[in-house]
Each structure stands twice: as structure tokens, then as C-alpha cells.
Amino acid sequence: MSVLKYIVKAGTTALGALLLMAPIQVVIAEDYPSAPVQVTVAYGPGGATDFQARIVTMMAGKEKYLNMPIVIFNKPGAGGQKGWNWFAAKASTDGHQLAAYNVPHFIAQSIKFDTKYNINNLEPIANWGADPAVLIAPKDSPFNSVADVVAHAKANPGTITVSGAGLYVGHHIAHLQFERAADIKLKYIPAGGGVKAMKMVLGNQVMAGFNNLSDAYRQGDRIKILGVADNQREAMFLPDVPTFKEQGVDVDDSSVNFRGIMARKGTPQEVIDFLAERVHLMFQDGKVAKKMKAGGSPLRIMTRDEVLAMWAERQPYLEDLLKGLD
């Protein structure tokens, strides 16, 4: 009897607590943000994603944006999987823990690996930047255009070595798209990081490479930039380098490294709407633009709806592109 009584009592208490919690949830959303907002970066400090995230969030404390500072929380490992797995499984859903995303990396990983995240359990807030992959070659290379590479590859299939940062990242996607669009066979060398991939091109250890537009731009005339894997040219830094499409190879923007902020699924809709509006504004701050330009990092600001559409488009495309591998 006393056991039953206990259970009933415990049940009522739990119910009561739940009823109490419900209004609290709403209150949290109204007061949001009530504390500094943490943004998880799935890469180490000093990397491109990290320093761009620091730049674009530095104005968060202003009243017209979040009225609370944003702090960056680095959780690197396994090409971003450690940090994103943690975020999708353990982060809070009250909007005080957000994360930076890298497309196509996290989508490709969720397709190829057993990850805890995918586009369905994450909510984009806004996009701040886009770093397209570019095809580069050593400065004394015989290649001067995408067509030169295609011609050589057609004549000698599988002999052109192409370095890139790793597997299932933008560079790898660009390489796969290039092979498919031009109907050629190349040899992709995953170098374990963009800097190492760049070094292999600088040191003539590979015949060509895919790398970030911003890093290739910084190398100046120490390398040749043959083509941009995007839908349009990059106007600010490399206005003279034609896209793949202009050179007759149908490679679109699927490999472009889009960076932005996301929340966990389950975050209250009011909070997401609030963030989607304010974060989008925050990215457009003049100081952010100035500092991003000084760092050689291209900005591309997109709204939550645009990012939702972009994610939804990437998912089936990448599934198809990566199907042939393994």
C-alpha cells in the first residue's frame, strides 16, 4: 500500500514539475539570450573555420544583435566529426549552445560515416562565408587552364596526381565532380589538411591540386590558379580566374565550403527565428566585413531559408556522387 502511495506521490510530483517547466520554457525563449552564447567549432583554434567564426561573431554583444557575447568552443577531431557528434547528441537546445557548420563536409560525413548528425537533426541559422575550391598547379607546370588538364588526362588516364585536404571534404567533392563532368580519371591524394595539400603543389610533388580559394589567393604567383569550382567568379579576390563552367566543364558550386551557424533540432522556434534574424544582421556589420577582407576570407551571407534550401539540395546530390566510392 505504501509503495503504491509512494508511486502515486512521485507521479504527481513529476507531473507538477512538468507543468511548472512548460511556462519556464516560454519564459526562456522570451528572455533569450540570458547568458553568453557558445558556438562550437569542430576544428582547432587558428584554423580557417575557427578564425572566421571569431571574426563574424565578434559583434554579438551589441544590443541590436544578440546583446550577449558569443564565445567560441573548439572541439576538433576526426575531420570535424568529434565536435559535430558532440553537438548533435549533447548540446543544449535552449539556444545557448550553437555550432558552426561546414558544407559539404558535414553532409558528406553523415552519408559516409556512422555519425550522430545529419541535415534533419540540425537547424541552420545563417551562412556567413563561402570558400570555393580552386584547381591549382605548380608555377612551372605545363598546365595553364582546365582544358590543358583535361587534355593531358584524356591522353594519360589516371596519371595526374591531384592533392586535396582529405576525403569527403570540398576538395574531394570538387575532384569527383571534375572527373565526372570532364569524363577523365585523376589520382586524388588526400594530404591530411589544406596546408599540406598546398605544400605538395608548391614542392612539385603533385601535378595539380584542389585547394581553398582564399589560401590559393594568398600564395600569389608561387602557384597557378586554373579554375574556380563555383557558379560565378570570385569578384573580390580573384576576378580574373574563370570558373570551370566558363571553361566548358560543368562543375557547379556543390564543393564550395559554406560556413555558417546552426542550432540543434528541438531548439524553440521563437529562438531560431530570433537568431535567424539577428545573426543574419550581425554578419552584415561593417566591422565584420572589413576584418574578413583583411584576412582574405570571402563573405557570402545567406538567410536561414536560403541555407535550408542549399542543404536540401546538397543531400541527394552528394548521396549520388559518393555512391560509387567503396
Binding site: 572541439k75 575531420g79 596546408v195 614542392g203 589560401d215
Partner: protein, 649 residues
């Protein structure tokens, strides 16, 4: 000479102030287990964000220099290298400290660091353009051979028995294959979510060195019940300087090795000290003295790892290609300040660049002065810390140090597991240095081999790619020389009456059995958990491990001599401590980091308190509060590490 022209800019009040603070802080940070130079620079990058570019870079450069040297302090005094770069320093530095020559060892460490460091910066100032070209000549084949040169010295580094050293090294190489392979994109041996990202070198370093040391301290606390760890002789600084400068050969070998390893991108500047240490021992008239407190070991290792700093910036500043893991993080520091590596640095941004390089030179001097100043005091104080407090402090620092590398609780668990295994292993003659070396070299060897293989297959073929070309031929020759030398040395020693030191505990049957069982588990995992090229390396290593463990087992059977009686007492000694540590790890995330650290610290110290009365317990409580307070202030506020909050804090 542009360097001179801009040198005046270094001598401003603001820059000098930053330099002094950064050097002092760097020495202290470097001395903490887990705060490697790479970590320290990474943690400080966000701070430079709000400074002007010159000041920010000066801060990062000075911290880089000072942490590399500071890592030797904890290595020499407590046998825990502050960073992978200081492993070689520990091999002879700690034995020196045990003999009561701690401050002398620290003198050698800072004097050699200074000499190596200055020469390294001079190389950076004068030879940058030609060396940058050389740096680019190292492709996958060359880097593979460099790693193999490192592998050839594994067996003889810091281990009494070559077979056990090789076995530890092979185990380290195998551990490095855990996680998602960057080349194959395949998960290997990810038996738990905690190792998806692999085993981080620094987490392994802390576990393998610090945890056995914690247990060792607990045993000491039970046995002696006395305050100080070991005695401290006074040694005059001037004598140290005189002696140090006379050890020209050790200094030269150390500095040259450091400069060369620093320039090569991807070779891992961490191995500079070990390469130098091994060379000096090989050139020595009496290699047997090494490992027992030979000053030359400290001199070579420390001059090498500081000589590495300047040259590791050569390819970074000219090509944006870092020469060491720390330089790689520094690249982020440059970019965040809007400075792109390349000719622009020396023209458009000449003032910032030369101020930075000039400040590195001054930082070396400050490091020398502060370091020498600290030598006597720090060894005096560390020596006076009672073992039970030391054990408690090392435990807490190891945990937070490991956590802050990647903000990862998984890393803490990996660290503790490896550490516990290593403590057991160390009772049977296995040692930490070869294992860490294996973990460092594994990815360099495997990734470069696989990349080289891919490139070779598109054209010239494996033989020509890996064996032809000047640098390859030099490196292959070095490997052969190193192997032949080791074999000859071993033969010579066996003839002289067998492996002298390898007796008693070293050869016990249990050690061999344990090693064999673990190796067979690894072999089973390597054979059954996957197939294809990605498992070629791990399988090869598992077979080698099994073979070596059979040799160890055979040695054990041949000398059936039981020494396990004494062991029993040891296990009882560390029982209470290990229980507290296990509990600590379990409640860490739930209770919150600082609350559980406080409890762990107080409980470990309480369990091992020699005299329990009102006064000593009161003392213990206040020490615990002060210690956790300092940890809290430095990690939470100075370094802004975000720790798990849990329900308390």
C-alpha cells in the same frame, strides 16, 4: 640590414612588457603537464585578436619559445615532460634530479636552450630564402624515411631492454592507427565512441608519463612518510655555465639536429630532441652512461628543441607551410592578424615581421634569465612538496591538461587508461618514451608511405620514388647506419656478459604473459575488424608486436625467478589512490570539473596523509582550496578553457 633597422621597434615599453610576461607565463605553462607549446599558442590566439598585429605575434612567439623550454622543468623535476619535445630531456634530466642535481640539470637545460634558440633564430634571420627551397624538397618519400630513421632509434630510447623498447614502440605505432584514417577514410579499431578521433599525442604523453608518476608518488608517500622527494645539492651557476660551454659536441649535435628537423615541414618538430639525444649517445665514448644522469643528454635534447623554433618558422613565414605542429597553429595567428605568409611579410609588413623575429631573439635571453632564476627556487619548492600533495596535484593537472587539448572528456578517459596500463607495464620493464615516440611517428610514416605509393603508382614506380633522389639516398643510408649501429652495440654488450640491467622484475614471466595476451588481442582486432589496404599497416604492427612479446615471454620463462612478492605490497599502496581517481573520472562530468577536482585532490591527499591530526587536516583543507583556486583562476580566467559544469561547478 633590415633586421637591425627594425630592431628598435622591439625595444618599446609595451613590447618589452609583453615579452617579459609572455616568457614568464610560458615557462610556467610549459611546465604544466598537458600544456604543450602547441596548446599554449592555440589557447592564446584568441587573445591576440584584440591586440595590434605586432604585439599579438610577439606574444605568441615568446610563448612558443618559453613553453618549449618550460616543458623541461616538470620533466626534470617530476619525470613528466611538459610536451613531446621534452621527452629526451627527461631521460637523463630526471635521473640527475634524483641524484640531487636538479638545479644543475635545470641550469644545463636553460643554457643549452638559450644557445640552441639563438642559433635557430639567427638561421631564421639570415638563411630564410635558401632554406625555404630546401623545405619544399621534402615530399612523401622523404618524410616517410625521416619517420623510419626515428623508428630505428625507438628500441634504444629510454628503455633498459631493447626488445621491450621495440615492443612498446610497436604498440605506440599501432595505437596511432586508431581512429578514422585520413588516407582511407575508414574507421579503424573504433571500438568505442571515445576513440573516433584517434589517440591524441599529448593526451597519450600525459597519461603515459604522469599517471605512472602519480602511482610512484603514492608508493613513496606510503613508504617513506617523509616530506621531500630527494635531496638537493647546491650547484654554482658559474660552474654550470663553464661545464655547459665545454660540452661543445653535445651542443653542436643538438643545435644542428634541431635546425634541420625544424626546417622540414611535417617531420614533427617534436622529434628534434630525440634525434639529437640519440646522435650524441652514439658519438659518445661511453654510451652506457646515458639514461642514468648524463648531462650531455639534457644539453643535446634541450639545445635541439629550442634550435627547432626559429627554423620551423622559415617555411611558415615564406611559404605558409609550417615546420612544426606549433608553427602550424601560429599560421592561424598570422592570418587572424591579416598577415599572409610570403614576400609581403618582408616588404609590406616588414615592420611587424622583423619586430616579431627580433622579439624572438630577446625572448631567448629573457627565457635564459628567468629560467636560471627559477631553477634553484623551483627545484627547491618542488622538492619540498610532500609526495601526497604532489600526487594529488599531478592527477588534477593531468586531467584538466588533457581535457583542454580538445575540450574532450574522451581524451581524459584515453589518457587515464593508457596511464594505468603503462604503470603496470613499467613494473615489468616497459617504458613510456618509446611508446610516445611510436604514436608521434606512426602517422608520419603511414600517411606518407600511402601517399607516396599513390603518387609512385601513377608513374615512376615504387623503387625509383622511394629510393632514388639525393635526400632519399641520404636518409636510407642514415637508417641503415642506425640499424647496424644498434645491432653492433647489442652484440658487444651481450658478449660483455649479457644484458646486465635486465634482471629481476624486468624479466618476470607475468610481464611477458601480459604483453603476449595484449598483442594477441591487437592481432585479433587487426585481422577480424576489417580488410583491405587500410589494415595493412596495423596488421603488420600486430604481427611484430606478437613476435616481440613471444621473445619477452621466452626470456621470462628462461629466468623463472619470482619477484612478485614485493609487488603485492605495491598494489595495496596504490589501492586507495586508484579508487579515488576512478571515482574522479566517473563524477567529473556530472558533478562539474572544479568540484570533482577539489574532492579528488583532497581525498588523495587525505588517504596518504602521513599524520592525521586536527592541524594537518586543517592544513590539507586549506591547501586543497588554494590549489583548486589557482587552477580555476589560471584555466578558467587566464586561458578561458571551458570545462564541464555539471550540477555543482
Amino acid at each position: 640590414m633590415e633586421f637591425i633597422q627594425f630592431f628598435g621597434d622591439v625595444l618599446t615599453l609595451e613590447i618589452m612588457l609583453v615579452l617579459v610576461l609572455a616568457t614568464g607565463a610560458g615557462l610556467v605553462l610549459g611546465a604544466m603537464p598537458g600544456l604543450s607549446p602547441t596548446m599554449a599558442v592555440a589557447l592564446l590566439i584568441p587573445f591576440t585578436f584584440h591586440m595590434d598585429s605586432a604585439t599579438g605575434l610577439v606574444l605568441l612567439g615568446a610563448v612558443y619559445t618559453a613553453t618549449v623550454a618550460g616543458g623541461a622543468i616538470s620533466g626534470i623535476l617530476v619525470n613528466i615532460p611538459g610536451a613531446p619535445a621534452n621527452i629526451a630531456t627527461v631521460l637523463d634530466g630526471h635521473p640527475l634530479a634524483k641524484q640531487g642535481r636538479a638545479s644543475e640539470a635545470l641550469h644545463y637545460c636553460f643554457i643549452s636552450s638559450f644557445i640552441g634558440g639563438v642559433i635557430g633564430v639567427v638561421v631564421l634571420i639570415f638563411f630564410t630564402p635558401p632554406l625555404a627551397e630546401l623545405a619544399l624538397a621534402f615530399g612523401p618519400a622523404e618524410l616517410f624515411w625521416i619517420a623510419i630513421v626515428g623508428v630505428t632509434v625507438i628500441g634504444s630510447v629510454g628503455s633498459k631492454s631493447v626488445v621491450k623498447g621495440l615492443l612498446s614502440g610497436a604498440a605506440g605505432l599501432w595505437i596511432s592507427t586508431i581512429g578514422i584514417s585520413p588516407i582511407f577514410g575508414e574507421a579503424r579499431f573504433v571500438f568505442s565512441d571515445h576513440v573516433t578521433g584517434g589517440v591524441h599525442v599529448v593526451a597519450a604523453l600525459i597519461g603515459l608519463f604522469a599517471i605512472p608518476q602519480v602511482f610512484q608518488l603514492l608508493v613513496t608517500a606510503r613508504e617513506k612518510n617523509t616530506g621531500s622527494l630527494y635531496s638537493l645539492e647546491s650547484h654554482r651557476l658559474i660552474d654550470s655555465i663553464r661545464y655547459n660551454l665545454r660540452r661543445f659536441k653535445a651542443l653542436a649535435v643538438g643545435t644542428v639536429s634541431g635546425v634541420i628537423v625544424g626546417i622540414i615541414p611535417g617531420a614533427g618538430g617534436q622529434i628534434a630532441g630525440l634525434v639529437a639525444y640519440d646522435q650524441v649517445r652514439k658519438f659518445s665514448d661511453d654510451p652506457d652512461r646515458f639514461g642514468k644522469g648524463e648531462p650531455d643528454g639534457v644539453i643535446a635534447a634541450e639545445s635541439a628543441n629550442n634550435a627547432m623554433v626559429g627554423p620551423s618558422l622559415v617555411p611558415l613565414l615564406t611559404l605558409g607551410v609550417p615546420g612544426s605542429p606549433t608553427a602550424a597553429v601560429l599560421l592561424g595567428g598570422l592570418l587572424i592578424n591579416g598577415l599572409f605568409p610570403g614576400p609581403d611579410l618582408f616588404t609590406v609588413h616588414a615592420q611587424v615581421t622583423w619586430t616579431f623575429i627580433g622579439s624572438l631573439l630577446i625572448a631567448q635571453g629573457l627565457m635564459l634569465v628567468l629560467g636560471l632564476g627559477l631553477s634553484r627556487t623551483s627545484s627547491y619548492w618542488v622538492m619540498r612538496v610532500p609526495s601526497h600533495y604532489m600526487a594529488a596535484a599531478v592527477t588534477v593537472l593531468a586531467v584538466i591538461g588533457t581535457y583542454s587539448i580538445q575540450n574532450s572528456y574522451s581524451d581524459v578517459l584515453v589518457m587515464a587508461t593508457l596511464g594505468a596500463l603503462m604503470y603496470v607495464g613499467s613494473r615489468y620493464g616497459f617504458s613510456a618514451a618509446p611508446m610516445v615516440l611510436g604514436i608521434i611517428l606512426g602517422p608520419i610514416a603511414e600517411d606518407n608511405f600511402q601517399m607516396g605509393k599513390m603518387i609512385a603508382e601513377t608513374g615512376e614506380g615504387m623503387f625509383s620514388y622511394f629510393f632514388l633522389g639525393t635526400i632519399n639516398i641520404i636518409l636510407v643510408t642514415l637508417c641503415l647506419v642506425s640499424i647496424v649501429y644498434s645491432v653492433l652495440a647489442e652484440v658487444k654488450q651481450r658478449r660483455r656478459g649479457g644484458t646486465v640491467v635486465d634482471a629481476g622484475v624486468d624479466r618476470s614471466l607475468a610481464g611477458g604473459l601480459g604483453a603476449a595476451v595484449l598483442s594477441l588481442i591487437v592481432l585479433g582486432a587487426a585481422v577480424f575488424s576489417g580488410s583491405g589496404e587500410a589494415f595493412f599497416f596495423p596488421r603488420l604492427l600486430a604481427v611484430i608486436m606478437t613476435g616481440l612479446s613471444i621473445v619477452v615471454l621466452w626470456d621470462g620463462i628462461r629466468s623463472l625467478r619470482s619477484s612478485d612478492v614485493r609487488e603485492a605490497a605495491r598494489w595495496r599502496d596504490i589501492g586507495a589512490g586508484s579508487t579515488v581517481i576512478v571515482g574522479y573520472l566517473i563524477v567529473l562530468e556530472m558533478l562539474g570539473f572544479y568540484a570533482s577536482s577539489f574532492l579528488a585532490f583532497a581525498l588523495i591527499a587525505l588517504c596518504y596523509l602521513p599524520l592525521r591530526n586536527r592541524r594537518s587536516v586543517l592544513m590539507l583543507a586549506s591547501v586543497s582550496v588554494v590549489f583548486i583556486g589557482i587552477v580555476y583562476l589560471s584555466f578558467e580566467h587566464m586561458l578561458q578553457v571551458m570545462t564541464p559544469r555539471g550540477i555543482l561547478f
